[in-house]
């Protein structure tokens, strides 16, 4: 594999970086959707995140790398009773690419062709969804993804389980992953059902500041010329950020939210008219992750404000008579609620 560009070397695009970190701290948030112009570093950021994630413990030899400390939600083999014998090892968090042209059998898993051909044996070969379990599933150009794959993903994302009933195989295995999608809205819209699945949504724009653009081009050029040296220059920063994520992951479950904050978040969502409760829940959870990243013990309105935009942007009902973008509406509502 080619060496990815370091996350900490990405110039600007704070909202996107922030959203990705928050999603990494709390995998249950529902992932991140990154929409924006070409050449703004969408794919670069996601691939950079992959190498930043701290390692995790997994059952050795399990194709779904189940968590040895938890039997709930593990695959059939790992949730059995012989817990004492399970050997575990540390593995990097999987960040799996779902390429546009991927065939359905490769995504859900299929018959192991080699064994079928050679031995006439029926064996299941796990697919991308199995590989992405407990990790990230990244779809570049998510808006171009074919409909039948989208349906399949929605199904699995909702249930956290991949059920394969095909070619005489009958397999079910856990598949919980953070969905990260990126795309260029000019090339097509995202289906509303899929849009709704994403916890956070980020719009990336070309930076207007010349100095920033110069720096971005400079760094990318330096990286292209000598990836190893460039990565070494940012190794310390990367390590620092990795530690920060690890610490935040531990801290997140302990973070409090005061009732007053909950009330204000509810007010915010009412003012914006977001559909359902998912917006509120996601916003509160995301605010907790923001607080954890900042080593705070309580999530306050400051943390809410920091993540309100990506958490709510894609949940606003579109009012045909309102010309202002959803960003402006959220900002206004925030100002009102914050008083």
């Amino acid at each position: 594999m080619a060496r990815p560009f370091p996350f900490t070397a990405i110039v600007g695009q704070e909202e996107m970086k922030n959203a990705l970190l928050v999603a990494a701290v709390d995998p249950t948030l529902g992932g991140v959707l990154i929409f924006g112009d070409r050449g703004t570093g969408k794919s670069t950021a996601v691939r950079a995140l992959a190498q930043l994630l701290p390692e995790m413990k997994a059952v050795e030899g399990c194709p779904y790398h189940c968590d040895p400390t938890r039997t709930a939600g593990a695959c059939q083999k790992c949730s059995g009773d012989n817990k004492a014998k399970i050997a575990s090892h540390m593995i990097p968090v999987p960040v799996v690419d779902l390429p546009l042209g991927a065939t359905e059998d490769r995504v859900v898993g299929a018959l192991d062709i080699e064994r079928a051909l050679a031995h006439g044996e029926k064996a299941f070969e796990p697919g991308l969804l199995a590989r992405a379990h407990r990790g990230f599933l990244y779809i570049d150009e998510v808006n171009l993804l074919e409909d039948h794959l989208v349906d399949l993903l929605l199904d699995v994302a909702a249930s956290g389980e991949n059920v394969v009933e095909r070619e005489g195989l009958s397999v079910r295995h856990p598949a919980r992953f953070v969905l990260v999608g990126s795309g260029n809205p000019e090339e097509g819209e995202l289906r509303p059902q899929l849009l709704d699945r994403f916890g956070l949504s980020v719009d990336v724009k070309t930076p207007t500041d010349i100095a920033m653009r110069v720096e971005a081009v400079k760094r990318r050029d330096a990286f292209d010329r000598d990836p190893a040296a460039f990565a070494a220059a940012f190794a310390a920063d990367e390590e620092r950020l990795r530690k920060k994520i690890t610490a935040a992951k531990k801290l997140v479950p302990t973070i409090d939210v005061e009732d007053e904050t909950r009330r204000r978040v509810a007010e915010l969502c009412v003012a914006l008219g977001t559909d359902g409760l998912r917006g509120e829940l996601t916003l509160l959870r995301a605010a907790r992750s923001v607080a954890a990243l900042e080593k705070a013990h309580t999530a306050t309105m400051t943390h809410v404000k920091a993540i309100a935009m990506p958490a709510l942007r894609h949940r606003l009902r579109r009012n045909p008579l309102d010309e202002v973008g959803s960003g402006v509406r959220i900002e206004r509502a925030l100002i009102e609620v914050m008083g």
């Binding site: 594999m1 080619a2 112009d37 070409r38 050449g39 703004t40 570093g41 794919s43 690419d97 779902l98 390429p99 546009l100 042209g101 991927a102 065939t103 359905e104 059998d105 490769r106 299929a110 018959l111 192991d112 062709i113 080699e114 079928a116 051909l117 050679a118 006439g120 029926k122 070969e125 697919g127 991308l128 150009e141 171009l144 074919e146 409909d147 039948h148 095909r166 070619e167 005489g168 260029n184 809205p185 000019e186 090339e187 097509g188 819209e189 070309t206 207007t208 010349i210 653009r213 110069v214 971005a216 081009v217 400079k218 990318r220 050029d221 292209d224 045909p320 008579l321 309102d322 010309e323």
Partner: protein, 608 residues
């Protein structure tokens, strides 16, 4: 004539330089969009490129309908079956590693293969999951996308245009132009340049100059300055320099940044520029009128301007000089494409199982009227044969090939969505009765057109206090005519209500998987608010807001102004809607019909 020759000479010289630059750094520069028909010019250019590439570097061709399997690789079925183990086959992208991949008729390349090629150019490797294989191999290559499109909006996918350094247009050249360069000049030593590439020094200010130039020309992507930088570096290596010179960066700006320009630098009025660009093009060494001497009005607010001025202008000038004649038209095409987003003039694309261009196969039941993909079905059944033979009882006569329902693969196609034309007719008193008659006549003619195209039509009229959907989307010409004939006129003009009703209907149409088009026939004068109350000013405001929401929807719209003389208000309304404006005083039906047809020729072209 002499001018024309000089121009051709410059274009050809630049094209040759671009070929050499790509040969120096194929993967770094990503390739070229080569706009040229078949013929000696294109062949000569490709030969020049091939001559520069390292010995043994692959030069492969991908057809325009290249499949994922061919591009990415996958299972080699015959080898797999004969050997009894999985044998992988390398795809075109992997096999082009270190060389170039030529894509023929790239303007017809679908988005999926374009995305694969783009990903390979970006990452220098391909990673794919296919046929039960994980494919991962190096793919550092340049793409030569040959664009034979005749129309300006018939271009190779944006994903490719974004990643290739150069866009060359060789359409105007003939074989006579080739002799002037090439033979008599010594070919640069590309091998030496390639080895020198890594040690070229980049002056600090250069990146800033390139970024500023991009900003001044409205080029947003960070890839543009990066590609320009790499082009400048390759140019320096080619010229035998150790440091990138101004000449190199000017060349890079001309070849890389100029073709991407979206607008002209704010310091210059567009009209002056067009005048400059036309005679200025043949002589790129001679910058067009010195920018510093032409004073721009001081009250014009602009952030970039200061930066542009203080920096070395030669790079920007080089980029400007390269802008072709007919530039304004091109800029408009660029900008329109930007604004229009996905709503092109053709129906949006969608995947179907019945007709259109084939885009592969999927598992499914062939009985429900879809087409069986025999090859993929056999492929799916193949690995199972040994297993199935084993389970069948001995006494049953065995078929030599066992195919079960699970194996069925059906063909999938990509088709254009059908169009629904929504007519929004002002039936108020202000559109006096005779003109209402004209409008009705026009709609009737259009209905006939729609019928031929198998489009759906819908009819909304607004008068009195609100808007009514007289005819929900239908293909019934008869019903449409009946409703239309019965449409009464008179009363106030609730324009905002009408526009909003049309917007909602358009949304509904879109949700049903069709592409809506709106034809609004009005004089633009509103006097009833959305609440159904009188009040000209408020009604007009509301209409403006509703119109802007139509624009936000990206709805393709035509506004036919049927007032006695062209109304500024109707023009304003058309602007607000992003609509095509047709002032037709005393519009007659045939004229409206012709206009609508002219505005949507593609809709006819697509439906074959």
């Amino acid at each position: 004539m002499a001018d024309e020759n000089a121009r051709s000479a410059v274009i050809w010289k630049d094209a040759l330089v671009a070929a050499d630059l790509i040969a120096v750094d194929p993967a770094g520069l990503g390739g070229v969009i080569l706009r040229a028909g078949p013929g000696p010019v294109r062949d000569a250019w490709l030969a020049r490129l091939r001559a520069g590439l390292p010995k043994g570097a692959p030069v492969l061709r991908a057809p325009t309908d290249v499949g994922d399997g061919e591009l990415l690789g996958g299972l080699d079925l015959s080898a797999t079956l004969s050997s009894g183990r999985t044998v992988a086959q390398r795809g075109l992208l992997a096999r082009s590693h270190g060389g170039v991949l030529i894509v023929a008729m790239a303007e017809r390349l679908a988005q999926t293969p374009a995305a694969h090629i783009a990903a390979a150019v970006d990452a220098g490797e391909i990673v794919a999951e296919r046929d039960g294989l994980t494919i991962c191999s190096e793919a550092r290559l340049a793409v030569i996308a040959i664009d034979e499109g005749l129309e300006d909006d018939d271009r190779p996918p944006a994903a490719l245009r974004e990643r290739t350094a150069f866009q060359l247009d060789l359409r105007g050249l003939t074989h006579r132009d080739l002799g002037m360069q090439g033979g008599d000049q010594p070919r640069p030593d590309i091998t030496a340049a390639r080895s020198r590439l890594a040690s070229i020094i980049t002056p600090d200010s250069l990146i800033e100059v390139l970024c500023t130039t991009c900003a001044a020309l409205g080029v947003g992507s960070a890839r543009a300055p990066l590609l320009a930088l790499k082009a400048a570096r390759a140019a320096a290596a080619l010229a035998g320099r150790d440091v990138i010179s101004d000449e190199d960066s000017a060349l890079a700006a001309r070849l890389v940044i100029a073709p991407r320009a979206l607008h002209l630098p704010p310091a210059q009025a567009p009209d002056d520029e067009q005048a400059d660009a036309e005679p200025g093009t043949p002589e790129p060494e001679q910058p067009p009128e010195d920018q510093d001497s032409d004073q721009s009005p001081p009250d014009q607010p602009d952030d970039d301007k200061g930066d542009v001025r203080t920096l070395d202008d030669t790079v920007l000038e080089a980029a400007l000089a390269a802008l072709p004649p007919g530039l304004l038209a091109q800029l408009q095409v660029n900008a329109q494409r930007l604004r229009a987003g996905q709503t092109g003039k053709v129906g949006e694309a969608q995947n179907t199982v019945k007709r259109g261009r084939p885009i592969g196969a999927r598992r499914g039941d062939p009985r429900s009227g879809v087409r069986l993909d025999l090859l993929h079905t056999l492929r799916a059944a193949a690995p199972w044969q040994r297993l199935r033979k084993r389970t069948i009882a001995e006494d049953i006569a065995r078929p030599s090939l066992e195919i079960r329902r699970d194996d069925f693969r059906i063909k999938r196609f990509r088709d254009r969505k059908q169009t629904t034309t929504i007519f929004l007719v002002d039936a108020s008193g202000s559109a006096a009765l005779e003109r209402l008659g004209e409008a009705k006549g026009a709609v009737e003619l259009l209905l006939a057109d729609c019928y031929i195209r198998r489009d759906e039509v819908a009819l909304i009229a607004f008068r009195g206090v609100g808007a009514d959907i007289l005819l929900p989307p239908t293909r019934s010409l008869h019903r449409a005519k009946k409703e239309l004939a019965a449409l009464p006129g008179g009363g106030g003009t609730p324009l905002a209500a009408g526009i909003m009703a049309a917007g909602l209907l358009a949304d509904e149409v879109r949700r049903k998987g069709r592409t809506p088009t709106l034809v609004l026939i009005t004089d633009g004068r509103a006097n009833v608010t959305r609440e159904g109350l009188g009040g000209r000013a408020q009604a007009q405001d509301e209409a403006g807001i509703a119109a802007r929401s139509i624009r936000a929807q990206g709805l393709r719209t035509l506004l036919v102004d049927n007032s006695n003389r062209p109304e500024p208000r109707a023009g304003q309304l058309a602007d607000d809607m992003g609509a095509l404006y047709l002032p037709l005083p005393r519009a007659n039906s045939q004229m409206i019909s012709n206009a609508v047809r002219a505005s949507a020729p593609a809709a006819q072209a697509v439906r074959r």
